[in-house]
Structures are given as structure tokens and as C-alpha cells.
């Protein structure tokens, strides 16, 4: 078996940025070495600065620069209008879709289109993976709470036509709610949130009463305060045949992070030389516990 060198993917922007910031961001990404770019809104249906036509336009520009484009979809669907919007997107998208809820998988299966699954889709065992592969799943993302040991089991039993992706950099998406915690922090009702997420391009820090940075509030999503960094596991990824590594965007240094990942992927070298730099680009601190089968916040 020839060793697979993982491709690099840029996950969807999980925060709410201004239109200018989004446009500038992807202009830089077009010049970067990333292979796959996920576009679209995966967290909150109220975030509409970027319309579908904007995402499609950026997608075409990125595609013209040789990127593989994937359109991300909403993770938590509550209103009937959100489901119709999802259906429309699935029907019209010229790009492959990242399903972040079973709803998207069902719709795409009905349309006979293949799809990718994001980290919030619960695939915890091979039988689930096999079943979804029959429905059109062509790449899946390991749920962030699963370990390298579990991934190794998956890889042994993986269907031939399914690729594996691992969330390798970023604040971990941990939970979703009907409640908007950003609005709550600002003493606002969700229905009148005044789009305060725009003020927090990397989310809003939640600390314990002894000032330990613990979680990160991002509207209806809760993330880890710490940033997962699995670049040090590059040899393990290659050994396990992981096809894609995902970097989750942050407001600053995303390009630098992509460059360090690319350097290590392209030319086998110790990722350790980048540790200090990479750490300085994290909003708080590093974690990698899940990968080692421990508490997600732990660091090994």
C-alpha cells in the first residue's frame, strides 16, 4: 500500500465576520496552498451578510484557482424555513455539500448527489459509516471527541470509496443549542440579537470563577477555549491513511497556520520546530486530549 499524504482543507468560517473581512480572507486563501475550501454558514441561520450567491461567486473564484470547493450547511435546523433553504442549497449547489445534519444527507440521497459529513454528524462506528456510504457519503469527518485508537479501528474497516477527514486545528465545536449565548451575555433576546456575534470574530471567552479560560461562546454554538493542534501527529495520520486534515479558520494567522501545516505535509520534518509559533497564534492555549482518548481539554 502506498502511503497517503493528507490533503489540507480549510473548514467553514464558524464565526460571523463582516462581508469585507470574508472577501479579504478568501482572497488570501486563493493564494494559499490549501487543497479544499469549505464555504458557507454552518452555525446560525440569522447570519446573512453573505448570501448564497456570494458564496457561490467566491466558490467559483477559488475553483478557478485550483481549489476543491465544498458548501457547508447548517448544523441545527429548527424552523421549516431553514429546512427549505437547505433543500434549495442542496438542489442548486454546483459544489459538493458538507452535511452537518442528517437532514442534508436525506435530501442529497433523494437527489442522488454524493456528500461529505462534518464533525457534528455522529459517526461513532463502522456500521454507521458503511450505512451512510450506501446513502452517498464520500468523505466523513471524525467526530472531535473520538481518539486515534478508535480512528485506527475505523480505518481498518472503512468502505473503499470513503475518505477520512480529521479536525486538526482550531477551537473545537462542542455543542449547539436553541439558545443564543452571545445574546444572553449581552442581555438581549435571540430574536433581537443585534448581530452581536460581529463583535467577536473569534467568539466570546467563557472563563471559570478563577479565570481559567474554559469555553468559547459563538452564538448558539459552544466551542472549546483551547485550540486543538494535531500537526504533531502527522506521521500517525500518514500511517492511518487519513486523507484530509481540516484547519478551522480564525480571524488572524490562518494563512500562517496553513503554511506551517503545508510545510510539514509536503516535506517530512519535525513539526516541533513550529510549536512556539503555532502556540502564539492560539487565542488561549493548546489541547489535544481527545486524540489521546482523554478529556478534550487535556494536553499531551
Amino acid at each position: 500500500m502506498t502511503a497517503v499524504v493528507p490533503k489540507l482543507a480549510l473548514g467553514p468560517i464558524l464565526y460571523y465576520w463582516s462581508k469585507q473581512q470574508v472577501e479579504d480572507f478568501y482572497r488570501d486563501i486563493a493564494d494559499s496552498a490549501v487543497d479544499i475550501v469549505y464555504l458557507g454558514e454552518a452555525v446560525c441561520s440569522k447570519r446573512r451578510i453573505m448570501r448564497n450567491k456570494d458564496w457561490l461567486r467566491i466558490g467559483e473564484q477559488l475553483q478557478a484557482r485550483g481549489k476543491t470547493v465544498v458548501l457547508s450547511t447548517l448544523t441545527l435546523l429548527e424552523a421549516a424555513s431553514e429546512l427549505s433553504a437547505l433543500r434549495r442549497l442542496c438542489m442548486e449547489s454546483p459544489f459538493i455539500i458538507e452535511a452537518n445534519d442528517i437532514a442534508a444527507m436525506q435530501i442529497l440521497q433523494e437527489l442522488g448527489k454524493p456528500f461529505v459529513s462534518g464533525p457534528s454528524v455522529n459517526i461513532y462506528n463502522s456500521r454507521s459509516l458503511k450505512k451512510l456510504a450506501e446513502c452517498g457519503l464520500c468523505r466523513w469527518t471524525l467526530p472531535v471527541e473520538l481518539s486515534a485508537t478508535e480512528l485506527a479501528e475505523f480505518q481498518r474497516q472503512r468502505p473503499d470509496n470513503v475518505e477520512t477527514e480529521v479536525f486538526a486545528w482550531g477551537r473545537l465545536p462542542l455543542a449547539y443549542s436553541a439558545r443564543c449565548f452571545t445574546a444572553r451575555a449581552e442581555n438581549l433576546q435571540k430574536d433581537d440579537c443585534q448581530f452581536r456575534c460581529l463583535d467577536y470574530p473569534d467568539g466570546l471567552l467563557l472563563s471559570t470563577r478563577e479565570d481559567e479560560a474554559f469555553l468559547c461562546i459563538n452564538g448558539i454554538q459552544t466551542q472549546s477555549a483551547r485550540t486543538v493542534n494535531l500537526l504533531g501527529e502527522i506521521n500517525r495520520f500518514i500511517e492511518l491513511g487519513v486523507d484530509v486534515l481540516r484547519v478551522s479558520p480564525q480571524s488572524r494567522n490562518t494563512i500562517d497556520i496553513i503554511e506551517r501545516f503545508t510545510a510539514v505535509i509536503d516535506e517530512p520534518q519535525s513539526p516541533k520546530r513550529f510549536n512556539t509559533e503555532l502556540e502564539s497564534w492560539m487565542p488561549t492555549a493548546e489541547c489535544n486530549g481527545y486524540w489521546h482518548g482523554a478529556a478534550g481539554m487535556a494536553r499531551y
Binding site: L83, L174, S224
Partner: protein, 331 residues
């Protein structure tokens, strides 16, 4: 609208049956279910006794096998499905796609319910589970408003069960990793949130502190009631404000919504709390039975009896209750 009640042991099961539950749901004594607590749940012998007791009195029994089996332990979850089928239970409550696939193939005549842990909040998701595994009912996560529940029911291919009373998950069930982030054990993988083994209490000069694997969840001053340190119900600091940034210690209570839930076509009302005492089960079952009966008899004239409310208040977390996501302002 049926009343579905929790039982963590045989006395609770009997209390639910005797107090008017239409069905009781139980789990086995391991991590195959989402209430994996020490000393709780049923071995095969007790489960068999429970099924007999319930069936003799016209009450159905459901078994929750609703955690997500990982690759290395999948077989044990399959065995749990087989054990439940062998007991002659009335339905299995499952969340995992692989396990649903197994159950539908191995026990085609066994009724399958989709657990709240599957995070299915919309008709397209429900169609997926119905078409692929023939599920006949789904329990909705506690994230939808009453209007949204109504929209789902209109398009749903299966019966809909919703939560009526009990501890409140603020996050979409099945999609909350907060507990494993802090402790390594989550509802999905281990069947418990904020597991007791990770909890430490300590008196300090600053007050009584509760910690979860070292993370300070809350600190209580003199005269403050200390609650179990469920991660999302602790007090944290966001910017300059310290408080219940995620949710207060509170219970869901839908008494006042019962006629609405019946009108929009909810098939069953579920009570949370397999980890609670037989006294809790008895009290909550009795009150909800009375409320459902009253709403059936006279939906327009329905009003919440003060005694019902007082009874439920006594057994609520933090002695307070909320309508949760059913009401928009909560969101």
C-alpha cells in the same frame, strides 16, 4: 397523548405503572444507555420482572440503548439489543445509525423509537430514520418552540414524543461534548454528563467549591444552595459578568402547555429522570396523569391546578422550572 415515565430500578417502574404511566422506559446496567450511573438500571432478571409487572397491568416497557457504540465495543451494544428483544419489550429507543441498522435487520418486527440523542429536529432527518430503519416514533430534542414542534409534526412520517418534565438539557442532545471536553466522558460515549467520579467538593475560604475534573464549576457563599455541578449549570465569567452564562439550575415543566401539545398532535409526553427516586417517579407520574386526563376531558377549560404545580416544584432542580425552548423568550 401518552405518558412515558422513567424507571431506574424496579420500585420506580412499579411506581410509574401504579401511578398511571402508559409506558415506562428503562436501561441496562452499563454504558449502553444515557443514564449510566452507579447502582442504577436493570439486569436481565429485574428487567424481566419489570416487563411482567407492567404488561400484567397494561403498561408498555421501552428499553433505551441510546448511547453511541464505538468501533471497539460495538458488539456489546448489539447484545443489549438482543437482550431487550428477548425480554419481549414493546420498543427499543436507539440513537446510533449502525445500531438502528442492526436492530432493523436482526429484529424486523420489533418497534423502534428514535432517541432524543439522535438530535433529529426536522422532518427530513425523521424521514431518513423512517425510510432506512422503519422507526415508528421519534423523541425531539429540547430545542424547538411549540410552533416549530407543530411544523415538524405536520411533515413527520412518524409519531412525535416530546419532553414534558425533568432536568433540562440546554444543548441539542447527542450533540453536546461539553462533558467529555472537561472529563473525557460524555453522554454519547459513556452515557453520563458531568459524571460523579469527576466531581470534587471542597470548603475553601472563598466558599464551597464544586469542581469537575479540576474545572471550577461553581462556588457557593453562605446561605446559597449548592447543586450538582452539571457543567452547563455552573456560574462562569463572560466579559465582566459572572453568572449562569449557559443556564440556571432549573427543570423543564410543561404543565401549562399540555392542551397545546395535545392539539398540535404530540403522540407522547416524556418525563426525564431515570436517575431519580421512586418517590419522584410516583409524584411526577401522578401529576402529569391528572393533567393529561383533565386536558383530554376539557381542553378549553384546562387550567393548571395549584397543587400539581406545588408538587412538581418540590422535585425540580433548584426548585425552579421553565418552559425552556418551547417558549421563544427562553432562547
Amino acid at each position: 397523548m401518552e405518558l412515558i415515565c422513567p424507571a431506574g430500578n424496579l420500585p420506580s417502574l412499579k411506581a410509574a405503572v401504579d401511578s398511571g404511566a402508559d409506558a415506562v422506559y428503562i436501561g441496562f446496567q452499563d454504558d449502553t444507555n444515557a443514564r449510566h450511573f452507579a447502582g442504577l438500571n436493570f439486569n436481565d432478571k429485574r428487567a424481566g420482572e419489570g416487563v411482567t409487572y407492567a404488561h400484567e397491568r397494561g403498561t408498555r416497557v421501552f428499553v433505551a440503548i441510546n448511547t453511541y457504540p464505538q468501533v471497539s465495543v460495538f458488539q456489546r451494544w448489539q447484545q443489549a439489543v438482543d437482550r431487550a428483544a428477548g425480554l419481549g419489550v414493546d420498543a427499543l429507543i436507539l440513537a446510533d445509525i449502525g445500531l438502528l441498522d442492526y436492530a432493523a435487520e436482526r429484529w424486523p418486527d420489533l418497534r423502534l423509537h428514535l432517541s432524543v440523542q439522535a438530535s433529529a429536529t426536522n422532518p427530513a432527518s425523521l424521514r431518513f430514520y423512517h425510510e432506512n430503519f422503519g422507526i415508528q416514533r421519534a423523541v425531539l430534542p429540547r430545542v424547538l418552540s411549540v410552533k416549530q414542534v407543530e411544523q415538524v409534526i405536520k411533515e413527520s412520517p412518524v409519531e412525535i414524543e416530546v419532553f414534558g418534565f425533568g432536568s433540562l438539557c440546554v444543548m441539542v442532545e447527542g450533540r453536546c461534548l461539553l462533558s467529555s471536553y472537561a472529563t473525557g466522558q460524555s453522554p454519547n460515549t459513556f452515557g453520563a454528563c458531568s459524571p460523579a467520579s469527576a466531581v470534587r467538593w471542597k470548603e475553601t475560604p472563598n466558599g464551597l467549591e464544586s469542581r469537575l475534573n479540576g474545572v471550577l464549576i461553581d462556588r457557593y457563599g453562605d446561605g446559597e444552595n449548592a447543586g450538582y455541578p452539571t457543567l452547563c449549570k455552573g456560574r462562569f465569567r463572560v466579559q465582566e459578568k459572572t453568572g449562569y452564562a449557559i443556564e440556571e439550575p432549573t427543570s423543564l415543566n410543561t404543565l401549562s402547555l399540555i392542551p397545546d401539545l395535545m392539539r398540535i398532535g404530540v403522540s407522547a409526553l416524556k418525563v426525564e429522570g431515570r436517575q431519580r427516586s421512586p418517590a419522584y417517579v410516583k409524584q411526577v407520574t401522578r401529576v402529569l396523569r391528572a393533567a393529561i386526563n383533565a386536558a383530554k376531558k376539557d381542553p378549553d377549560g384546562f387550567s393548571v391546578d395549584a397543587e400539581w404545580m406545588a408538587s412538581l416544584q418540590q422535585v425540580s432542580e433548584g426548585a425552579q422550572t421553565t418552559l425552556g425552548a418551547y417558549a421563544r423568550p427562553w432562547q
